[in-house]
C-alpha cells in the first residue's frame, strides 16, 4: 500500500487537510483543541517520509545488486497530478543554432512531484522538525486568542514546504517558494497588534520578493534558453550549453533567489527582524525549514551550477562572507533570539560555502550540515522559547542570569545544543562541520583552489566565533548569580511537559544523528543516488587520505576548545574583563560596527527605501500638478477662444451697422475682382 507515489502525495496532503480543517472549524468547534488535527497530520506525514526514505533505500539496494546497471543511475519517481497551464509551442524555435531540447517551446506546467534521495532527506527533516515544533507550541501558544490561526498557518506552511521540496518543475518551485514566503509573512505578523511584528512581516515578504524577482528572471532565462521548465528536461540538456553565458546568468539569478530566501549577505536583513514572530515559528521557519529552501534549490540545480564554475565561486564567496558577517555580529548582540538568528545566517553561509565547492563531497557535506543544523538550531530556539516563556517574554540576556537551578531540563538540553553547534567531538555538529572543513580542504587542492584556501581559513575562524557567541549567552543566562526579571513574577519555573519533551527529543537527535550518519556513511551514500548529482560523480577524484581527515578533525576540535575556553573565562568571571575587551575592540570601531549590525538597515533605508519613497512622492506631485493640470488647461481652451470674440459686442448699434457695411463692401469687392 505504501508505494512511493502514494507516499509522495500523502506527505503534503495531510498537513493541507489539517490546515483547512483547522481554518474551517477553528473558531467554533476546536477552539483550544485546534492543535489536534495539525499535530496528528504532521506526525503521520513524518512517518510517511521515513517510510519514503526506506522505500528509496530498498530501491537503491535493488539497483546496486542488479549487475550492469551503471551505479550512477539515480533513483527518481515522478507523479503528475493535473496540468496547470498548457500553451503548446509558445516560443519560436531557436534561430542561432542552439540545440533544441525535446518538447521545446510548449509551456506545459503540470503539478508534478518527484521523489529522489535529496527530496526524501529534506522531507524527513522538515516533517520531523515541524512535528516537534507543533507539539512544543501546544504549550507555548496556550491561551493565545489566535490559537487555531497559528496551527492553521503552521499546517499551511508545512504543506507548502513539502510541496516546494518535491516540486518537479521550476515554476512549481517558484509557486511554493512564494507560498512559503506568504506563510512566513503571516506567522511573523501573527501578533499583528504589535506594529513591530506587522512591519517585520512586511519587510520579510518584500525582501523575499526582491529575491524572488531574481529567481523569476532566472526562470524566464531558463525558459528562453532550454525551452522547457521541467527539471528533467533542463538538467539533461545542460550538457550542450556548457560554455554559454546564459547558464552562468541563470545560476547567478537563481543564487539571488536563494539569497533572498536563505537570508544570505545582501538580503539577510529580514531574518533578525523576523524574530518578532512567536518562537516556535522562529524555530521551525527561520531556523530549520524555510531558510534552507535556498540551500535545497542550489543543491537541486547542481547540474546548472556545475556547467557554470564561476557561478560556483560566487556561491562560495557569498556563503563565506555571510558566515563571517553573521558570526561577527552575533558576538555583541544582547537579544538571545537575535544571536540565534545571526548564528543561523552564519551556518547557512557555511552550507553555501560547502555547496560552492562543487564537488560531490562538498554538496553532501552541505546537506549533512543542513540536517544537523536543523536539529540543534531548532533545539536552541525552543530552549530560548522556553526561557522566554518562563521569564514572561524577556529575552535580553543581560537581564537574565543563573536560571540553571530553576530550569534544569532547559539547561541541559540547551547545553547539549550549544555543544553540538560548537562541534564538540561526539555530537552531530562536529561531524557536519568536519565534513565541510574536509570538503573545503579537499577542494582547495583542486583546480582554482586558492579561493577555497581562504574560505577554509575563514571557516576555521568561524568555528572559533561560533563557540564564543554560543557559550556567551549560555553562561550569562544559565550560570552566574540569579537575576529574575520583574516580568517573570515570582514563580519562574520550568516549562510544562509538552514543551520540554520536544527539547529532550531534539537534544537526543542533535547528539545521535551526526554520529549515526557518519559511521554508517549512509547519508553521503544515500544522497549520491540523486539523479542531479550524477554529473558530479563522473568528475571522480581521488578519495581523501585518512591522514587528512584526522588532521582536519584535530584542528577543528582544538579551535572549538579555544573558543569555549575564552567564552568561559570571560563570562564566568566578573564583568570587568568583558568591558575591557569591548573597549579594546572599540578602539578601531569593531565593537560598534558589530553591535550596529554593520548598519545594513540604515544603509538600505537611506539608499533604497527613502529614495523610492521620495520618487513616489515626486511622481504623485507630478501626476497632480503636471499631467492633471495639463488636462485642465486643455479644458480651458474653449473658454479662451470665447474671450477672444467677446469685444465684438460693444453695445453700439452703429458699430454693428458699420460691420455689416464693411462686409457688403468686401463681398462687392470680391465679386467685382
Amino acid at each position: 500500500m505504501f508505494d512511493v507515489q502514494t507516499l509522495l502525495i500523502l506527505i503534503p496532503a495531510l498537513p493541507l487537510a489539517a490546515a483547512l480543517a483547522t481554518a474551517a472549524l477553528g473558531t467554533r468547534l476546536l477552539r483550544d483543541r485546534s492543535h489536534v488535527p495539525v499535530v496528528t497530520a504532521l506526525v503521520l506525514s513524518f512517518a510517511a517520509s521515513v517510510l519514503l526514505v526506506f522505500q528509496l533505500q530498498e530501491r537503491i539496494e535493488e539497483r546496486a545488486t542488479q549487475p550492469g546497471s551503471s551505479q550512477s543511475a539515480g533513483v527518481e519517481e515522478v507523479v503528475a497530478r493535473w496540468s496547470w497551464i498548457n500553451v503548446p509551442d509558445a516560443m519560436p524555435h531557436p534561430v542561432d543554432g542552439r540545440v533544441e531540447t525535446p518538447g521545446w517551446g510548449n509551456f506545459n506546467i503540470e503539478v508534478s512531484l518527484r521523489a529522489d534521495p535529496l527530496t526524501a532527506v529534506m522531507l524527513a527533516m522538515v516533517t520531523c522538525i515541524s512535528a516537534l515544533v507543533a507539539i512544543y507550541s501546544i504549550g507555548y501558544m496556550r491561551g493565545d486568542p489566535g490559537y487555531w490561526r497559528f496551527f492553521a498557518y503552521v499546517g499551511l506552511f508545512v504543506f507548502s514546504m513539502t510541496m516546494l521540496v518535491s516540486a518537479n518543475n521550476f515554476l512549481l518551485l517558484y509557486v511554493f517558494w512564494e507560498l512559503v514566503g506568504l506563510c512566513s509573512y503571516l506567522l511573523i505578523g501573527f501578533w499583528y497588534e504589535r506594529p513591530a511584528a506587522a512591519a517585520a512581516g512586511k519587510k520579510a515578504f518584500l525582501v523575499n520578493r526582491i529575491g524572488d524577482v531574481g529567481f523569476a528572471l532566472g526562470i524566464f532565462l531558463i525558459w528562453t534558453t532550454f525551452g522547457t521548465l521541467d527539471f528533467g528536461g533542463v538538467f539533461q540538456s545542460v550538457g550542450q550549453h556548457a560554455g554559454d553565458w546564459r547558464v552562468t546568468a541563470i545560476c547567478l539569478l537563481l543564487l539571488i533567489g536563494a539569497c533572498g530566501k536563505s537570508a544570505q549577505f545582501p538580503l539577510h536583513v529580514w531574518l533578525p527582524d523576523a524574530m518578532e514572530g512567536p518562537t516556535p515559528v522562529s524555530a521551525l521557519i527561520h531556523a530549520a525549514t524555510m531558510v534552507t529552501a535556498g540551500v535545497y534549490m542550489v543543491a537541486r540545480c547542481t547540474p546548472l551550477f556545475a556547467a557554470a564554475p564561476d557561478a560556483q565561486y560566487v556561491v562560495a564567496v557569498v556563503g563565506g562572507v555571510t558566515a563571517l558577517l553573521g558570526a561577527i555580529i552575533a558576538i555583541t548582540q544582547t537579544d538571545l533570539k537575535r544571536i540565534l538568528a545571526y548564528s543561523t545566517i552564519s551556518h547557512l553561509g557555511y552550507m553555501f560555502v560547502a555547496l560552492g565547492t562543487g564537488t560531490l563531497l562538498g554538496i553532501t557535506a552541505g546537506m549533512f550540515h543542513l540536517i544537523t543544523h536543523a536539529f540543534f538550531k531548532a533545539l536552541l530556539f525552543l530552549g530560548a522559547g522556553s526561557v522566554m516563556h518562563a521569564a514572561g517574554g524577556v529575552i535580553d540576556i543581560r537581564r537574565l542570569g543563573g536560571l540553571r537551578r530553576r530550569m534544569p531540563v532547559t539547561y541541559w538540553t540547551f547545553l547539549a545544543g550549544c555543544l553540538s553547534i560548537a562541534g564538540v567531538v561526539p555530537l552531530a555538529g562536529f561531524w557536519s562541520k568536519d565534513a565541510i572543513l574536509l570538503s573545503l580542504h579537499d577542494r582547495s587542492g583542486l583546480f582554482g583552489g586558492g579561493l577555497f584556501e581562504i574560505l577554509y581559513l575563514t571557516t576555521l575562524l568561524g568555528v572559533v566565533l561560533i563557540d564564543f557567541y554560543m557559550f556567551r549567552p549560555f553562561f550569562l543566562v544559565f550560570h552566574g548569580k540569579e537575576k529574575i526579571p520583574p516580568e517573570a513574577g515570582n514563580h519562574l519555573h520550568e516549562s510544562p511537559g509538552s514543551m520540554t519533551a520536544p527539547l529532550v527529543v531534539l537534544a537526543f537527535g542533535s547528539v545521535v544523528v551526526g554520529a549515526y550518519f557518519e559511521w554508517t556513511h549512509g547519508f553521503a551514500h544515500f544522497l549520491s543516488f540523486t539523479p542531479s548529482f550524477e554529473c558530479l560523480a563522473q568528475s571522480g577524484h581521488t578519495a581523501i587520505g585518512t591522514a587528512d581527515k584526522w588532521r582536519v578533525a584535530a584542528i577543528g576540535s582544538v579551535l572549538t576548545a579555544v573558543g569555549v575556553a575564552t567564552a568561559a573565562m570571560l563570562y564566568l568571571g566578573s564583568g570587568k574583563a568583558v568591558a575591557r575587551l569591548a573597549r579594546a575592540m572599540n578602539v578601531f570601531g569593531l565593537y560598534s560596527l558589530s553591535y550596529g549590525k554593520f548598519f545594513f538597515d540604515p544603509i538600505y533605508n537611506a539608499f533604497v527605501v527613502w529614495p523610492l519613497l521620495s520618487v513616489a512622492r515626486l511622481a504623485a506631485w507630478f501626476d497632480c500638478m503636471a499631467i492633471d493640470s495639463l488636462v485642465d488647461r486643455c479644458g480651458r481652451i474653449p473658454k479662451l477662444a470665447g474671450a477672444a470674440l467677446r469685444p465684438a459686442q460693444n453695445g453700439l448699434v452703429q458699430f454693428y451697422a458699420l460691420a455689416m457695411v464693411f462686409g457688403v463692401l468686401v463681398l462687392l469687392g470680391i465679386m467685382l475682382m
Binding site: L652, Q654, L658, F662, V664, L665, L668, L672
Partner: protein, 243 residues
C-alpha cells in the same frame, strides 16, 4: 479728357470730405466749406453721366437729381431733426420727379402721396412727441463721422464703378440685351394707359403679393398700437435723464 475713373474717384473723395465736414460734429465749424465741397463733388460726379440726348430732358434730369441728392444730404446732415424731415420731404419730391421722368407716373404720385404725405408726417408727429427738453446732445454729435462718411461714399464709389463697368459696351460678361425700342416701350411700360396696365399687372399676376402687402400693413398697424399701449399706463415723469 482724363480717364473717367479718376474723375469718379476724385468726386467720391471730395464727396466724402464734404459730407464729413457737414455732419454734426459737436460744434465743429466747416459746414459751409463742406457744402461747397459737396457741390463740387456733385458736379464732378454729374459730369460722368451720359446725357439723354435732348438738352431739355437732360436739364430736367440733372435738376431733379441734384434736388434729390442735395436734399438727401441736407436731411442727413442737418442739426435739427425737424429740418431733417423737411429736407427728406424735398428729396422725396426730387425722387418723384425722377420717377416721372422714367415714365412711372403712378409711382411718382404714390411716392409723393404716401411717402411724403403719410410717412413723413408720421415722422413729424413722432418728432413732436418724443422731443427731449432743451437741445438734445445726440443731434449735435455724430458717431465716427469720418469712418461712416468714408464707408458710405466708398459704397457709392463701388456701386458707380460697378454700374459704369457693367453698362459700358466693353464689358464682356454683359449679355447683349437689346435695350427696348421706343415702340416696345410704348406698347409696354410707357403705354398711355400704363396706370391701367399697372393695375392689371398688380391684380393679375401679382394678386397674392398685393394681398400679402395688405395683411402686412394690418399687422403693422396692430403691432404699433400694441407697442405704444404698452407703456401708456405710466405717466411721463418728465425729468431729464442723462445718457
Amino acid at each position: 479728357m482724363p480717364d473717367p475713373r479718376h474723375i469718379l474717384t476724385l468726386a467720391v473723395l471730395l464727396g466724402a470730405v464734404g459730407l464729413w465736414l457737414m455732419l454734426p460734429r459737436g460744434g465743429a465749424r466747416g459746414r459751409a466749406v463742406g457744402a461747397v465741397l459737396g457741390i463740387v463733388a456733385l458736379g464732378l460726379w454729374f459730369s460722368q453721366f451720359h446725357g439723354l440726348g435732348q438738352w431739355t430732358a437732360d436739364g430736367m434730369f440733372f435738376v431733379l437729381a441734384a434736388i434729390a441728392v442735395v436734399a438727401a444730404v441736407g436731411a442727413v446732415t442737418s442739426r435739427n431733426p425737424v429740418y431733417c424731415a423737411i429736407w427728406f420731404g424735398l428729396s422725396l419730391l426730387g425722387t418723384a420727379g425722377l420717377l416721372l421722368l422714367v415714365g412711372a407716373q403712378f409711382l411718382a404720385v404714390a411716392t409723393v402721396l404716401v411717402y411724403a404725405g403719410a410717412i413723413l408726417v408720421m415722422f413729424l408727429f413722432v418728432l413732436m412727441v418724443a422731443q427731449p427738453e432743451g437741445k438734445a446732445s445726440c443731434d449735435r454729435m455724430s458717431w465716427e463721422a469720418g469712418v461712416s462718411a468714408a464707408a458710405g461714399i466708398a459704397m457709392v464709389g463701388v456701386l458707380s464703378v460697378a454700374i459704369g463697368g457693367i453698362l459700358s459696351p466693353s464689358c464682356p460678361a454683359m449679355p447683349p440685351i437689346a435695350p427696348p425700342t421706343q415702340e416696345e416701350l410704348a406698347a409696354g411700360v410707357l403705354d398711355p394707359h400704363q396706370v391701367a396696365r399697372l393695375g392689371d399687372e398688380l391684380f393679375g399676376r401679382r394678386l397674392i403679393a398685393v394681398e400679402v402687402a395688405g395683411t402686412l400693413l394690418l399687422a403693422a398697424l396692430v403691432g404699433a398700437a400694441v407697442i405704444v399701449n404698452q407703456f401708456s399706463g405710466r405717466r411721463h415723469d418728465g425729468q431729464q435723464r442723462t445718457v
